[in-house]
């Protein structure tokens, strides 16, 4: 319908031009030879005209036809005498010999001559035929079109279902216990692939959390066994014989000490596991690292002095990151404690904040024995302790915790040889970490 309407408008414009031209032609004929010349011309043309789609009518003032292939002057044509090309309804009865079986709405033009005769010119739109044929064709092809549409729909739907199936299949395998499975990603780079990438990211995270949790339980079992065993043995042995009150008190004091160590270890393990899993819901606020470092420096100055160490603090630029002040303080404390512990008297400790975009470095350097480069990775792992003196306190979780806190703040712990000594660096991104928008950006 729309097709018809829009074509019709097009037709009108073209036809208007044709009709006007033909009318001008005929009018010239009249001016040259009068009515008789005009009617001759029309009569000559009328047979051919029908095939070409032209309708002529030359009529007397009273309406009686003089020449042409229309049998009667239609009343509707009167309005054309005012001028212009317009479409009018022509009764099929008057269009003898034409293929029109019904009334036709055709562009037409009319003209009145000085002696009262009138000329009507109408154009049977050829395109009208084309459109008729087209609509006939459409009617025939409709079933075929519908069939193909259905086929396409089914195919598309089936391919979507298949993609979704691969995803749910992978999910099922993962749930069945195969943690390493991932959703396959095709090379089409479409929405399904984006979804698959997101899912895989999620699975990475889940695998990490689960592995972390397993590590926690392993480590808890391992590292808490010693103090528990000590406590038990101590109690058992103490009870073997009658003891002095003093002995009992001493046993109890040592047990308290062991219990406290266990608590500390326990808390640290939990904290590290939670940091790994990203479940610590600490509120992140802007923290000026330089300010924090200056405070820490002030806090540690006396004890560094007591230990006979040179303690230097440099933190001049404002260096703000999004973070949690207490956690960051804990990280610095752990690093400083290590430096204090391992640097012999006469040595130096440097605590500084250096801002060089795009990173901010928080550095603790000492001039102690340092850590061999081969061990840089291992020391971050839980419970690794390098000191040969087995008497020093500590549970080997110091650096592990620092590492976890660094990662929580979207940063990293970097260990370097200070030559001599150790340089421990917390490297953060300068500025507020950006929040990537969801979807389509699940980078693997």
């Amino acid at each position: 319908m729309v097709l018809y309407w829009s074509s019709e408008r097009y037709v009108s414009t073209q036809v208007k031009v044709e009709i006007s031209r033909e009318l001008a032609e005929l009018t010239r004929g009249f001016s040259e030879g009068g009515i008789s010349s005009l009617s001759d011309y029309i009569n000559e043309r009328k047979e051919q005209a029908i095939d070409d789609g032209w309708f002529y009518l030359l009529a007397k003032m009273n309406g009686l036809p003089v020449a042409g292939n229309l049998t009667k002057w239609p009343n509707e044509a009167d309005v054309l005498l005012e001028g212009g090309v317009r479409s009018i309804w022509l009764d099929d009865d008057i269009m003898v010999g034409s293929f029109y079986r019904n009334d036709a709405y055709l562009p037409a033009v009319a003209r009145e001559f000085p002696d009262g005769s009138r000329l009507l010119l109408a154009r049977g739109v050829e395109q009208d035929n084309v459109l008729r044929e087209l609509s006939e064709n459409l009617k025939e092809s409709l079933p075929a079109v519908v069939f193909f549409a259905l086929l396409m729909g089914l195919t598309l739907g089936w391919s979507i279902l298949r993609r979704m199936d691969t995803i749910s299949m992978a999910a099922n395998e993962i749930m069945a216990g195969d943690l390493a499975q991932r959703v396959p990603i095709s090379d089409k780079n479409d929405e399904f692939d984006a979804l698959a990438a997101c899912l895989n990211n999620m699975l990475d995270k889940i695998e990490k959390v689960l592995t972390g949790m397993k590590e926690v339980t392993d480590n808890v079992a391992h590292d808490l066994r010693s103090p528990v065993t000590r406590i038990r043995n101590r109690m058992e042995i103490t009870l073997l014989e009658e003891r002095e009150n003093m002995d009992y008190r001493e046993a109890m004091k040592q047990t308290i000490h062991d219990a406290e160590m266990m608590i500390r270890t326990f808390n640290a393990i939990l904290h590290v596991a939670q940091a790994d899993a990203g479940t610590i819901r600490a509120e992140l606020v802007p923290v000026d690292l330089s300010n924090l470092v200056r405070e820490m420096g002030e806090f540690y100055a006396p004890i560094a002095e007591e230990a006979g160490l040179d303690f230097h603090v440099h933190a001049d630029d404002i260096a703000i990151i999004q973070g949690n002040r207490d956690l960051l303080a804990q990280a610095i404390v752990n690093l400083l404690d290590n430096a204090l512990k391992y640097t012999p008297g006469g040595g130096s400790i440097y605590l500084r904040v250096v801002r060089h975009s795009p990173v901010i470095d928080l550095i603790v350097e000492d001039t102690g024995p340092g850590i061999p480069e081969s061990e840089f990775h291992r020391v971050r792992q839980r419970f690794v302790r390098l000191d040969t003196g087995r008497h020093s306190e500590g549970n080997g979780l110091g650096l592990t915790l620092v590492d976890a806190i660094a990662r929580q703040h979207d940063g990293s712990l970097i260990l370097e040889d200070n030559d001599p000594g150790l340089r421990a660096m917390l490297r953060f991104r300068d500025g507020v970490p950006d929040n990537p928008p969801f979807a389509y950006t699940c980078s693997t």
């Binding site: 819901r281 006396p302 804990q330 404690d337």
Partner: protein, 225 residues
Amino acid sequence: MHILLIEDDHDAAAYLKKGLVESGYSLDHSDNGDDGLHLAITSNYDALIVDRMLPGRDGLSVISMLRAGGNTTPVLVLSALGEVDDRVHGLKSGGDDYMVKPYAFSELLARLEVLMRRANPTHDLARLKIADLVMDLKTHNVTRSGQKIYLQPREFRLLEYFMRHQGQVVTRTMLLEKVWGYSFDPNTNVIDVHISRLRNKIDKGFGMPLIHTVRGVGYKFCEAS
């Protein structure tokens, strides 16, 4: 001193009761939030110890209901939830102090004492005094026996905290929290060194020591007995 303990773990409650009674307190105990709230409203206590996880009404709800009713009894919150946000949440609900389990009993005792003396109007004083030590909070002048003592800002704040908590046991954790504003687990030696510096300035050479070490617990600031 009359205390209400709202704790559903009966073993823990038994130990706490024993320790507190032996330290000179009298104790009432409730093992759920609703009864506890009722008791707190209808009786007069000097302090409340409330566990966060309770059957029925949870600890923080008890506290906020209490506060909503205008009750200003000091509350010490005990909790197994120790994350930073939990602490903030606990204090915002109306708690006055927050301790994470497992805690040291001596720590609990020290904090409880500080809580109950909170009604002490030292907040408005411009001058703090003990024995011959005088602290002017406006001018930041500190003198002992008439002699002027020069303190660094942090030492001043440390002394101020001691002065405001005269006669009470303060633990290293409390000092770290209130004077330095941190709540991490410190190498407690660091604090000891700060204390010894302060001692050098205000106790050494002045006859009576004011800063006393309480073994295994912390420090006490008072005239020597």
